[in-house]
């Protein structure tokens, strides 16, 4: 439990003094704030004023009945958890109370343990309800902002390109500078490429909305896959003055997965390790097999990821910008896609990082298990 949070308030409404006293004593000892009232009218005033998380109400009271209290409390706040106390003779009423919105009931007589258990269950339920309510509000907001956000992401490179071309057109011809023109054309090409990548990644994601990226589950040895990717980035790494290294065990690192997805996954991690590195830095891929899992670590000696950004790292379109980060050309979708691929293959991806010193992405994937009726037993003889 969060110790910094204020204690939850519980309102007890019961006409019996002994019951109010007992409930107050037991619940106070649980660290809860308890206020007890002797009838429904007073109790409802108390609920409106105290905004409790949970209300314990006796069903059989003179004046406003317990059932009516439940209805009126929920008019004040439908999220308040209602627990009813009832004698054995009124089980039917208890059922009715549950139907009208009570969360749980306590038949009299009950032990302190029973009270504690039911109150804790009720409070857990409330926390969950509040969390999911918050989640829903956030999701709705996010969805609304998302369309705006995606169009902004797509338009940004397009705007930059258009602006270059339009300014070129409007610049005084006598002041034309061929070197500048060449530089601008190069920038336009770079931004076009960025737009292409963005659309490719975006489509990849859109296509799998609700579906899966991973289409096949076959035996794939990761060593040649990753070696191939490393080889294809030799030139880029050299340009960035980053050295590439792979550390493999002698045995094959076979996982069960989709070859093209695995390529996308390690391509993303390796290009990040090169792009977000420092001149003279290293990008190292290490593989191992143990406990039915293949673990691949992609480590760089680059700029690192400040702690406050780590929770968002795998979110769609998340990119770290600002001081110390020279690149803004990523699509912000690479890690999101990577995480999706890993999860679909039943694995996990984690990041460790020290800002200024580098990051290590650790991927764990279930190792390939040869099917029992594998006919290809020749090599075993």
């Amino acid at each position: 439990m969060n110790e910094a949070a204020a204690p939850e308030t519980i309102v007890v409404i019961d006409d019996e003094y002994a019951m109010r006293l007992a409930c107050s004593k037991i619940l106070s000892k649980m660290g809860l704030r308890v206020e007890a009232f002797e009838n429904g009218a007073r109790g409802l005033e108390g609920v409106a004023a105290l905004k409790p998380g949970l209300v314990v109400v006796d069903l059989k009271m003179p004046g406003i009945s317990g059932l009516e209290v439940i209805a009126r409390v929920h008019e004040i706040d439908p999220q308040i958890i209602m627990v009813v106390i009832t004698g054995y003779a009124t089980i039917d009423t208890a059922v009715e109370a549950m139907k009208s919105g009570a969360y749980d009931f306590l038949p009299k007589p009950f032990s302190p343990d029973e009270l504690r258990m039911i109150i804790n269950r009720g409070l857990d339920r409330r926390r969950l309800a509040l969390e999911s309510q918050r989640g829903e509000v956030e999701r709705a907001l996010l969805k609304r902002r998302f369309v705006t956000f995606v169009s902004h992401q797509l338009r940004t490179p397009l705007v930059a390109i258009h602006q270059y071309l339009d300014v070129l057109k409007h610049l005084d011809q006598t002041k034309d500078d061929p070197a500048r023109r060449q530089e601008w054309i190069d920038r336009c090409l770079k931004r076009t490429e960025e737009l292409q990548n963005l659309i490719t990644d975006w489509l990849t994601l859109a296509r799998v909305e609700g579906g899966t990226l991973v289409k096949e589950r076959v035996e794939v040895d990761l060593r040649p896959v990753i070696s191939g990717i490393l080889a294809s980035y030799e030139e880029m790494a050299a340009a960035e003055q980053v050295s590439l290294e792979a550390v493999w065990p002698e045995e094959a690192l076979c996982v069960c997965g989709d070859r093209s997805c695995l390529s996308v996954l390690f391509d993303n991690l390796i290009t990040n390790a090169i792009k977000y590195n420092k001149p003279g830095g290293k990008a190292t891929v290490t593989g191992s097999l143990s406990g039915g899992e293949v673990a691949i670590a992609v480590a760089d000696t680059g700029v690192g990821i400040p702690e406050q950004y780590r929770p968002f790292l795998f979110d769609e379109f998340f990119r770290i910008k600002g001081e110390g980060v020279k690149r803004t050309e990523g699509t912000g979708l690479g890690l999101h896609i990577s995480k999706k691929i890993v999860s679909e293959m039943g694995g996990s991806i984690e990041v460790e990082s020290q800002a200024g010193f580098g990051s290590t992405f650790r991927v764990r994937l279930p190792a390939w298990l040869a099917p029992a009726e594998n006919t290809d037993m020749g090599s075993w003889e």
Partner: protein, 136 residues
């Protein structure tokens, strides 16, 4: 003396092209890649016009900059600098901050759409800097 324009935008390419355009028209141009940088440039260079990107991914977004410039005490002497907010999407602050009091507070001097319509943009700038000189 040439008029000073401050470009606050996180897209370097956008700053490069607009800067060249303005320089050939005789403006002195300052650049900032983030809201924070923009605010310190205001104090340092005292621009005549500010061109401000609405959606930046750094900590102080466009509206934050406008708000700071119009209402924070340390920028009091720069309060009159015209601010034009630039965005590639038509998003007025009314959509972003549905509370009218807040919207009133952060209303800039104008909105421009990216990519800029160059002839209209230049005309607007000319009119703005030629306008009545602000009180010292």
């Amino acid at each position: 003396m040439s008029a000073k324009v401050l470009l606050i935008d996180d897209d370097r390419d956008f700053r490069i092209s607009v800067r060249s355009l303005l320089e050939t028209r005789g403006y002195e141009v300052f650049e900032a890649a983030s809201g924070h940088e923009g605010l310190s440039q205001v104090l340092q260079h005292k621009p005549d016009v500010i061109l401000l990107d609405v959606m930046m991914e750094t900590s102080v977004e466009g509206y934050g900059v406008t708000h700071a410039l119009k209402y924070r005490e340390e920028y009091a002497e720069h309060r009159q600098i015209p601010i034009f907010m630039v965005s590639s999407i038509e998003e007025s602050p009314d959509e972003r901050f549905p509370m009218s009091a807040e919207v009133e507070m952060i209303r800039p001097d104008g909105y421009l759409t990216k990519p800029l319509d160059i002839p209209r943009f230049l005309e607007l700038l000319e009119k703005t800097v030629a306008g009545p000189r602000r009180a010292p």
